[in-house]
Amino acid sequence: MAMDGSAARKQEPAERQELDSVVVRFAGDSGDGVQLTGSRFTETVALAGNDLETFPDFPAEIRAPIGTTYGVSAFQINFGSRVIMTSGDAPDVLVAFNPAALKTNVGDLKQGGLVILDVGTFNDKNFEKAGYKGNPLEDGSLTRHRIFPIDVSKHTLEAVKDSGVNKRDGLRAKNFWALGLVDWMYDRDVAPTIKWIESKFSKEPEIAKANIAALKAGHAFGETAEMPDGVRGFTLRRAELAPGLYRTITGTESLAYGLIVGAKLAGLDLFFSSYPITPASAVLHALAGLKAFGVTTFQAEDEIAAIGAAIGAAYAGALGITSSSGPGIALKTEALGLAITTELPLIVLDTQRAGPSTGMPTKTEQSDLNLAVYGRNGDAPLIVLSARSPGDAFDVAIEAVRLATQFMTPVIVLSDTYISNAAEPWLVPDVGSYEPFPVGFRTNPEGFHPFVRDEKLARPWVKPGTPGLAHRVGGLEKNYNSGNISYDPINHQRMTDARKAKIDGVANAIPEQAVEQGETTGRLAVVGWGSTYGPIYRAVSNVRRDGKAVSHIHLRHIWPMPRNLGELLKGFDQILVPEMNTGQLVGMLRNQYLVPAEGLNKVMGRPFTISEIEAAIRSKLD
């Protein structure tokens, strides 16, 4: 095989092979524009009518030295003509822009997968930085895969030579060259990318020209050059998606938009306070840019101040929201108790990351569930919800606002690094189609006491400034009616019971637990929550295709649990709970329902693959 793809000759026109779905990963140095390539390809694929899910994987360092393994940035996309549930177990194709990207990513590739390799970066210095002893093409280490080495750098420079850019800028277009080639492989149109380049670089016409030239050249290379074995054109049919207007959305955007829409439905101003932390900061950034919607964002001095300000805002009659990730959520536990005992609505977003302690800040995990449900001094119940996918986060955010304001209680929303960074096509809803749930602030002084409860056991919410309703709340135990400080033993029991009953009662205001797939009784239920949705769903459907009796149940409402959940679970012989932690939901199910649920646990900072779950299901059913 020639080291230099340019030596290849024109290929005979061949039928494109049709595929159901395919997983492509781009990987390169942080400076190689990998994320950009990924998101351009995503748009192209989406516009072509495929379903998809993407996942970017950023390096942990801010800006690592060029060429190092820890500076590698990657972007994976799974797309197809069927419904896509995950960003893909293992790539079919890896586009690697340098030796470090090859080194850190090739191991994830499918057996026999294709590696498109920019050998223009192959030199001893880069081998060394990547930790290779020599040229990996020559040491026999890549035999599990099909390797397609091309001097992308050289091709790119050739392509851009008339666009008037210098060599450095020219070389930076190589991601577009690669994108052009991949566009050709999967029969995607380059036009939308060209449009995007033109608008993005409208002020730098040479750069635009160079990028477009590179893109076209890459595409033409596919058309014209002779390809090695197995590198050929593919095609994918449109997926059967519900008709309507789509966009791609990340979990971050989805949460931000959901909160704004939720506030609107509740008739409240949105007050968001947070302290930066990876990966939660993204929501702060998103909302900070939406001041035109009346959103107030506040970057507090720390997480305690952030939740404190949100509680203060809630007391003042706004929708108080705070967000963080593990270490920051831990810091909020004391103040959460105050919101619980003063019975103020509050939303706490937890974008979970790998722990304990600082852990692996850029990696995903589901290990804050115990903290969310149990992590407070005293008996301090609240509502816990979880989002299963980027798009789902939008509805979960609205549900959080609804429950917080209707029940006068904090709600913790669990998301994770995966959901927050991943993107998927989203059927954009009409905001008008959501039922509003306006907050009825108390204004009538007649018979007012701050802790007299309604039928849902919620207390009245009063905006300071309301005439005749001046009152005091606080963290000490309160008299059941008047809200005055009370140390009375019977009263404390009554208030403790009421706080518990209020949250337990939320089970009546949420839907019964549905079964995602499969029967409502049977040999095995796979129960999940959060971002394991995709791999569980696909794994269950794979096994079901073989005629096996397995069902998928996925929790959005984790605390309180849906009122029929216990009955539902008791209808299964076995219950398997895949979680990205050492077993947290599984313990709650066992505790609540005395069902012999078992955990399937993965704590690697990365999502389950479909095959991992599939294997576990099969072994349960064998």
Binding site: L47, Y246, R247, F298, P429, V473, G474
Partner: protein
């Protein structure tokens, strides 16, 4: 719990809630609450527009006794919570009350940042140099050598000065007064209220149970005149029973010194004239400690600047006026979208 008061005829009693006060008999907090009620009546704000936010401690019980909106929060976090109240509704008149432990020990950071941001809160620190509510441990303002249950051999760490700290945090308004000064406290509070931005007031407060008399060296009747310097903007710094003493500035050592008028040819013209807007002077005045110097009382430093809440709201207003038709459906459809048609049947 609801208190309906006509805003027209406000008296101190208009601000008295129905809750029985539970401070120890003789506690300095009684005098302070009286003065706060008087100040509010004089200011004339509708009690329904006022919010008191406090932390935890004896001082922090304050909101319960005020017929206004009130939030008795958790230890040390009142400035942060009050920040949320004010940002959510800048029209409210927000007061923060806490003890020296609450605001300078556990809550030091929130105090620092509320001051730094210059958010329009009236922050009242009741300094009794002790932890009252938890039964008498020493606090960050306790003097070296304070014997307490946690320091039976005497404390060894240097105290922080509340006002010097506040200036270090970038305060635009600092003042000091004493619980028992029934006219002075309301006057200072009215100045604090009038200042838009964070106003930080240290109120010297006697804890009769755990730290009785610790301020006697400048609050006791017999020494008050000699140990208290009552500041007035534009007036020379004079004190003493017959105002016979004053403060002169030595530019060589860059220090203030106590002088007696008439002695060694010192005349009033030699004295420093109080300038509230002078930060260097403010820092020196705030740091003065009896017995060598009188304690400075009144408004020590006042130099207004735009308040944080104002600037935050101005940005939102600007963003709104730039995009007046901000529409949620449009927001969701920002960026690239595509349409999937009805499946071809």
């Amino acid at each position: 719990m609801n208190d309906t008061v006509s805003p027209r005829a406000l008296t101190p009693d208009s601000f008295e809630s129905d809750q029985e006060i539970r401070w120890c008999p003789g506690c300095g907090d009684y005098a302070i609450i009286k003065s706060v009620r008087k100040a509010l009546a004089d200011i004339g704000t509708d009690p329904d527009q006022v919010v008191f936010v406090s932390g935890i401690g004896c001082a922090s019980r304050f909101p319960y006794y005020m017929a206004t909106y009130g939030f008795h929060t958790i230890h040390g976090r009142a400035p942060a919570i009050a920040t949320g109240v004010k940002l959510a509704n800048p029209a409210l008149d927000v007061w923060v009350v806490g003890g020296d432990g609450d605001m300078l020990s556990i809550g030091g950071n929130h105090t620092l940042h509320a001051i730094r941001r210059n958010i329009d809160l009236n922050i009242l620190l009741f300094n009794n140099e002790i932890y009252g509510l938890t039964k008498g441990q020493y606090s960050p303002t306790s003097r070296v050598g304070t014997r307490s249950p946690s320091t039976p051999m005497g404390s060894v760490d240097y105290p922080v000065s509340a006002l010097v700290f506040a200036l270090g945090a970038g305060a635009h308004f600092i003042a000091r007064t004493i619980d028992t000064l029934q006219k002075h406290v309301p006057d200072v509070l009215k100045r604090a209220h009038a200042h838009k931005g964070a106003s930080f007031v240290e109120i010297i407060q006697n804890c009769i149970v755990y730290n009785d008399g610790v301020f006697d060296d400048f609050t006791a009747k017999d020494v008050a005149a000699d140990r208290q310097l009552h500041l007035e903007h534009g007036k020379p710094l004079r004190f003493g029973k017959t105002k016979e003493k004053g403060l002169r500035f030595d530019p060589k050592s860059m220090k203030l010194e106590v002088v007696t008028l008439g002695e060694n040819g010192v005349s009033e013209a030699d004295l420093v004239v109080h300038d509230e807007t002078n930060r260097t002077l403010g820092t020196m005045l705030a740091a003065m400690e009896p017995p060598d110097f009188p304690a400075a009382l009144g408004v020590i430093y006042c130099s207004p600047a735009e308040s944080y809440d104002h600037a935050v709201k101005a940005q939102i207003a600007a963003a709104r006026s730039k995009a007046p038709a901000a529409d949620l459906n449009a927001l969701l459809r920002r960026g690239h979208t595509w349409t999937v048609d009805r499946p071809q049947a």
